[in-house]
Amino acid sequence: MTLADYLPIALMLILGVGFAAVMMLASWRLGPNRPTPEKLAPYECGIVPLQEPVERFPVKFYIVAMLFVIFDVELIFLFAWAVRFDQFGWAGIGAMAIFVALLIETLVYVWKRGALDWNVASRERYRRVVAPDAEVAPREAA
């Protein structure tokens, strides 16, 4: 392939973009344009919503779910290792021990940070005791 071989691709791109541009330009220039508020409103089924629906799940579900998925998925490395672990000997067991130790350290971190605390009251306590300097950020104006 040389640079010249890219020419058909470039032509194709120009044609594609050009076609879309011409069509949009034509419908804008040629079509009648009499907007009314109803026409400008975005198309929605049924009644116009007055406000965003309320939040359905407490946020803590997400956090626990995310933690579960991550720790759960890490297990797949154990499967790959388990297929051949008898051939690795002690080195293999040592390597897997390091891997599991890393997971345990992460678990300890998550635990200490209070991410596993279901109870909001104890989360407040953790804010006060464990991480007193991690204040909630002042919200800046957009």
Partner: protein
């Protein structure tokens, strides 16, 4: 299992540092200790990089039989190229960490986690420099980018920072998916995952449409990471919205990691497929330079300007790859191109870090990143204005500051190739250097010759240069000395780049 622990030492030390930061963060001691441990770990990891690099002159070091240390069946290789880049990554991360100290501390945002993520990302970059197979490359690359998604959104209450993080994240995972799809096709055609295996298989099997699509998709995935035009849309938004130290980190470490992937893939794995990646990277280089520079001219925000400037600089870094477009290019010329890219990356890292350090120091007190608000900076902060001129002149490529040498080797690498396409690329690069000079000079002019705007209380800000946080001062001095030394004694970096190019040998 026989493992060469000396070759793995930088990664092991950095890994232990990462864990230590996480544990120390849980203890009830002042959070700045996490930064201190991080810095110490980065410097400690630098020691084995040096001992590996100067192995022949050390007594305790057992030299390998070959020029490189091959570990894990060729997946992980420690050679001079990877050592040079490991040094770059460690150094740049240390500077980025110094830049973050004041910034993150001031916001009182989860400092420990921030340094933890930054070190994780650096660990990924250090592994990436050595990875010579697709799995290691992919995992290392994700380790580099994953933590940076979170770092970009670190200012949790600031909607712009949130937006920067989401845009960066979506583009990041999208590019990873494209990269992986390309890799899967390459694997399917060659049946190999190591770079050496892929190279041998492509030489034996020849070209095919499947392989071509695989290679192109793989490289396009990296084009997103190095924000080459037309895959750059996320860059200015993310750079502007993210905290500025994170932007500095993204534009140097994360971007260089992308280039390292491109270098090892195209010069090793796809070495036999020069006629596929040569034209592709030629086009990306030409587009990145031109579009990046033309949009940068119009910017009035200094961070956004640096964002577009880094896109354009990325184009310059891609220029030597474009030399491979010529059919008659020789092995020596390809080695020269490889050398040019590595040299440019090293110099770019120093000068871009410096430019961001100045911007952080200034924005900290001025509370503004608009270029107009920086007018007359020299009248109340001459030192800072001087450093600003130094780094921007280096980015523009004015001798005797480091940037000119990067441009010089970049031009000579393409002009040495006897081909119309290569020469055309050099001409485009020259035109772009002129455009780039214009907007870099505009910033310098604003700082030195314009009036101080009424909105800036210049009298209050007098002497603000001396009030810069010590960590930031250290970073400024480090990068300024680096830029000057590399510019005046370019032989230093030429030697480093010279040993690194051996990787591209064997054409």
């Amino acid at each position: 299992m026989n493992v060469d622990y000396h070759a793995l030492a930088p990664e092991i030390i950095l890994g232990i540092t990462v864990l230590a930061v996480l544990v120390v963060d849980l203890l009830r001691i002042p959070k700045y200790w996490t930064a201190v441990i991080g810095l110490v770990g980065l410097f400690a990891a630098f020691v084995p990089v040096l001992t590996l690099g100067f192995c022949e002159s050390l007594d305790f070091c057992t030299e390998p039989e070959t020029a490189q240390r091959v570990l894990f069946g060729g997946s992980f290789v420690v050679d001079t190229f990877s050592l040079v880049l490991k040094g770059l990554f460690l150094g740049a991360t240390a500077v980025a960490l110094l830049l973050s100290v004041g910034y993150i501390e001031e916001d009182r945002y989860w400092q420990g986690e921030f340094y933890f993520l930054m070190l994780c990302s650096a660990l990924g970059a250090v592994v990436l420099a050595s990875s010579r197979d697709l799995v290691t490359l992919f995992v290392a690359l994700e380790l580099v980018t994953g933590p940076t998604f979170l770092m970009a959104g670190w200012r949790k209450g600031d909607p712009r920072s949130n937006e920067a993080a989401l845009k960066y994240f979506i583009i990041g995972v999208l590019s990873a998916a494209i990269l992986l799809f390309g890799m899967s096709l390459v694997y399917g055609y060659t049946g190999e995952l190591t770079f050496g295996g892929i190279r041998a298989a492509t030489a034996a099997l020849g070209d095919s449409a499947l392989l071509t699509i695989g290679v192109i998709l793989t490289l396009l995935g990296f084009a997103f990471k190095v924000s080459a035009v037309p895959f750059h849309f996320w860059t200015p938004d993310t750079y502007q919205g993210a905290p500025i130290p994170v932007t500095a980190y993204l534009s140097v470490v994360s971007k260089t990691a992308g280039f390292v992937g491109l270098l090892t893939l195209s010069y090793q794995a796809f070495a036999e497929l020069r006629d596929v990646w040569g034209p592709l990277l030629w086009i990306l280089a030409a587009l990145s330079m031109t579009v990046g520079n033309l949009i940068a001219v119009r910017q009035d925000d200094i961070v956004r300007l640096l964002g577009y400037s880094s896109i354009a600089q990325g184009g310059f870094i891609l220029v030597p790859f474009g030399a491979a477009v010529a059919g008659n290019v020789t092995g020596d010329q390809l080695e020269q191109a490889f050398f040019a890219t590595v040299t440019y990356l090293l110099i770019y890292a120093v000068m871009n870090m410096g430019a961001f350090a100045v911007v952080i120091a200034g924005a900290n007190r001025l509370k503004s990143t608009l270029i107009a608000d920086w007018g007359g900076l020299s009248s109340y902060a001459p030192g800072l204005a001087g450093l600003l001129a130094l780094f921007f002149a280096s980015l523009a490529g004015i001798p005797p500051i480091a940037g000119w040498f990067a441009k010089l080797v970049m031009f000579s690498s393409v002009l040495g190739v006897d081909s119309g396409w290569a020469t055309a690329l050099a001409v485009i690069a020259v035109l772009n250097s002129v455009v780039a000079f214009y907007y870099y000079a505009k910033v310098i002019k604003s700082a030195w010759f314009d009036q101080v705007p009424d909105t800036i209380p210049a009298a209050e800000l007098r002497g603000m240069g001396r009030a810069v946080a010590p960590s930031l001062q250290f970073a400024l001095v480090l990068t300024a000395v680096g830029v000057l030394v590399l510019g005046i004694f370019p032989n230093l970096i030429a030697d480093v780049g010279d040993v690194a190019k051996t990787v591209a040998a064997g054409f």
